[in-house]
């Protein structure tokens, strides 16, 4: 059958230029930034929260997110849209909820990105100080990264995927080598599994530990954005999601546990407080050459930079999609014709970062705890809230048997409902222990002020959606379609040529 043969040709020709599993894994892992999480997130997590159960929290979160991914990936086969989270929430829970989610996502990803500047600035400044004798303030280093990220964002220059993959593999290799050194040189008392013990789950402060862990995983959810760009949307996105989750989950848990072995579980918090993000390096320094330790520092910096760029692009994309839909001013939907960059979205993100950095620099606040840790954890909380809402929306969406088609209730309804309940529980304990998470006094008003920003964003989105319904019904009708706002966006359940 010649016609059948050529039908294969069109889709296989197109598939050749599309993303396979591994490029997709590398793309999302750049945002998750393994070494940033291991060297920065985990150590600061130990130090600020004072909780030793961080390693088991990484395992728990990986399992919970795997459950979340079952429904999430199933949804990506049904709803064809690069908007992911808020598109799914729109489909499951209606347009006002969708816009509320979009505003939460904008806030969360911008917060995450800006927080990373604190880590980058402080780590680079300290490295230059100790290794080159250059005394630069952290904010100067942060602004240097800001200039480059801003330029790359406007010119739509991505880090070359091969460079990205090479850096990631090197990062992971360094993290694993360091962890191996930690485990083979345990503190007096031998190798202890105390920080991996499930009993940690019942200790006070587990909510804070889970929030620290969630922040480390943010970025993996990017797989679904590429569902249409993947070789086979039915399997590529699913495999890439689970692979990325498994790799980073194992890596985080292993490396965080290894650090606690090297210091001894009883001393991990004190050591982390004393040495900060240097802990992972000082623990291996006596056993490895200075070159390896320097290489580790450099990869820490490049990992932070890759994450900065990835979240800058995510935030710019959100601005762009909402501008294109007519939810936010249309100027945000503008692109740079020559470079295919979401021009205005990118500039707005860059502007926001400049303002926040200036505030921190002028106020003299600590870049690691107050900027890097607080804001990335706050960003993580936003993404956690979004994932909870997405799970609920996916469950509601698949309640309709027509939407399930041949996918089966277990994979769709049951998994997403369980994930929604689990994630909601994490949100509740996290909010309850937010003071521990921030390392502030239990009565500090920051414990509710920071999370409340999301409530404000969600409420503003819902109200704005209702206003749009009256003043711009056309824009309201297109909500949740992102760049596809002009067309139908439901993927036919049959296998098409895409």
């Amino acid at each position: 059958m010649p016609a059948q043969h050529s039908a294969d040709t069109v889709s296989s020709t197109l598939a050749r230029s599309r993303l396979g599993v591994w490029p997709l894994v590398f793309t999302v892992m750049a945002a998750a930034a393994p070494l940033t999480v291991v060297a920065g997130g985990a150590t600061t997590g130990f130090a600020v929260t004072g909780i030793t159960g961080i390693p088991i929290a990484y395992v728990l979160v990986a399992l919970l997110l795997a459950l979340f991914s079952v429904g999430y990936v199933a949804m990506s086969r049904r709803v064809l849209n690069a908007g992911a989270f808020y598109t799914y929430i729109t489909h499951g829970m209606g347009k006002p909820a969708g816009i509320g989610a979009a505003f939460v996502a904008l806030l969360a990803y911008n917060t995450m990105q800006i927080g990373l500047y604190g880590g980058f600035g402080a780590v680079l400044a300290q490295f230059l100080d100790t290794r080159a004798g250059l005394h630069l303030p952290w904010w100067l280093c942060a602004y240097a990264a800001w200039v480059i990220v801003g330029l790359l964002g406007v010119r739509r220059i991505d880090l070359n995927s091969r460079i990205l993959a090479t850096l990631l593999i090197a990062e992971i290799a360094v993290a694993v080598i360091f962890a191996a050194v930690h485990v083979t040189h345990p503190a007096p008392g031998g190798i202890s599994f105390a920080t991996l013990a499930p009993s940690n789950v019942l200790t006070a402060g587990i909510g804070a530990a889970l929030a620290v862990a969630i922040a480390g995983f943010v970025g993996f959810e990017g797989t679904a954005v590429f569902s249409e760009e993947s070789k086979d949307p039915h399997t590529t996105v699913a495999r890439a999601t689970y692979l990325a989750l498994t790799i980073i989950g194992l890596l985080y848990a292993f490396c965080a546990w290894a650090m606690s072995v090297a210091t001894g579980p009883a001393h991990i918090v004190d050591q982390a407080r004393a040495q900060g993000t240097e802990l992972i390096f000082t623990l291996v320094a006596p056993y490895l050459g200075q070159t390896v330790v320097d290489l580790g520092h450099l990869l820490f910096v490049t990992s932070l930079f890759a994450a900065l760029l990835a979240f800058h692009n995510t935030a710019a994309r959100y601005f762009f999609a909402l501008g294109r839909e007519g939810v936010l001013p249309a100027i945000l939907g503008r692109t740079s014709p020559r470079s295919r960059a979401p021009l205005t979205g990118s500039l707005v993100q860059t502007g926001l970062a400049a303002i926040v950095l200036a505030v921190y620099a002028i106020a003299g606040w600590d870049p690691i705890v107050r900027l890097f840790f607080w804001l990335t954890v706050l960003g993580g909380l936003g993404v956690l809230v979004l994932m909870t809402a997405t799970s609920m929306a996916v469950a509601v969406y698949f309640t309709a048997p027509g939407n399930r088609d041949h996918l089966g209730a277990g994979r769709t309804l049951l998994a997403s409902f369980t994930a929604a309940v689990g994630l909601a529980l994490v949100v509740i304990v996290t909010l309850d222990e937010f003071a521990i998470l921030l390392g502030v006094d239990p009565t500090s008003s920051l414990r509710w002020q920071l999370p409340a920003t999301y409530a404000v964003a969600a409420a503003a989105g819902i109200v704005w959606a209702l206003i749009l319904k009256t003043i711009r019904p056309q824009a309201y009708a297109a909500i949740g379609r992102g760049a596809n706002s002009a067309t139908i966006d439901l993927r036919p359940p049959t296998r098409g040529g895409r």
């Binding site: 016609a3 197109l14 908007g83 706002s485 139908i488």
Partner: protein, 241 residues
């Protein structure tokens, strides 16, 4: 940008270059012309005096792919019900490239979505249309030395011809004259690919409104094609591939 040419603002085509007269909706196979939308989109997407691209390569490919489909839509060979590409008239087009494209479409037994064809045609559209323009004597191939080795570039042989689509669109919009079917598609593609801020330099806000109004009044298959092109471009920006 050296868009110096406004000499033809009365709407008459210069003798050279526009080898197909403006085709209205009524253009039929009996007229020995073919609506060369893709040629004019190629001209709009490249600088008239040196052929430098004004638009991202990937987006140019999508715009040209849409223009190739638009030619077949204008010539009433295709219908696009519900975003599926259906051949309604298999009469061979007089243009060789359009003939090839129609043959390729006809080789599929099942109707495929517009988005699939846009992605498929976009891969080779730039080369195909540059070849068509070169064969017709409108472009000349030059090899420039770039930062990363040699680069083939197509330079217009006549700047006036190359600037004509831009001049025609701008002057008609400025005077508030109605656009014909051909220019409506062309203008719609300029909007869908975000090229309008480059093309309608200076007074873009007013002209953009005129262009949007014209595109909104276009026949259903044209609107369908433009919407899918805009969506494909938007997704290309979001996924940045």
């Amino acid at each position: 940008m050296a868009y110096i040419n406004t000499a033809y603002s009365n709407g008459s085509a210069p003798a050279r270059g526009r080898h197909a007269a403006v085709a209205g909706w009524a253009a039929g196979p009996q007229r020995p012309t073919w609506p060369l939308v893709a040629d004019d989109f190629f001209r709009l997407a490249h600088r008239d005096h040196d052929g430098r691209p004004l638009l991202d390569e990937h987006v140019t490919g999508l715009g040209l792919a849409a223009a190739l489909l638009a030619e077949l839509v204008l010539a009433r060979r295709l219908a696009l019900p519900g975003g599926q590409v259906i051949i309604v008239d298999a009469t061979p087009p007089i243009d060789a490239l359009a003939h090839t494209v129609l043959d390729r479409l006809a080789a599929e037994q099942a109707a495929l979505p517009v988005r699939t064809w846009l992605a498929y045609l976009a891969r080779t559209a730039q080369r195909d249309i540059a070849d068509r323009l070169t064969r017709a004597g409108h472009l000349r191939q030059t090899t420039g030395r770039g930062l990363f080795g040699r680069r083939v570039r197509y330079v217009p042989t006549d700047m006036n011809t190359a600037a004509w689509p831009w001049a025609r669109l701008s002057s008609r919009l400025q005077k508030g004259q109605p656009l014909d079917g051909f220019d409506t598609v062309l203008g719609g593609l300029v909007l869908a690919t975000d090229l309008y801020r480059t093309v309608l330099l200076g007074h873009s806000a007013d002209l953009e409104a005129g262009l949007r109004a014209a595109a909104a009044d276009a026949p259903a298959p044209v609107r369908e094609l433009l919407a899918h092109t805009e969506a494909a471009v938007g997704d290309a920006i979001i996924t940045r591939r």
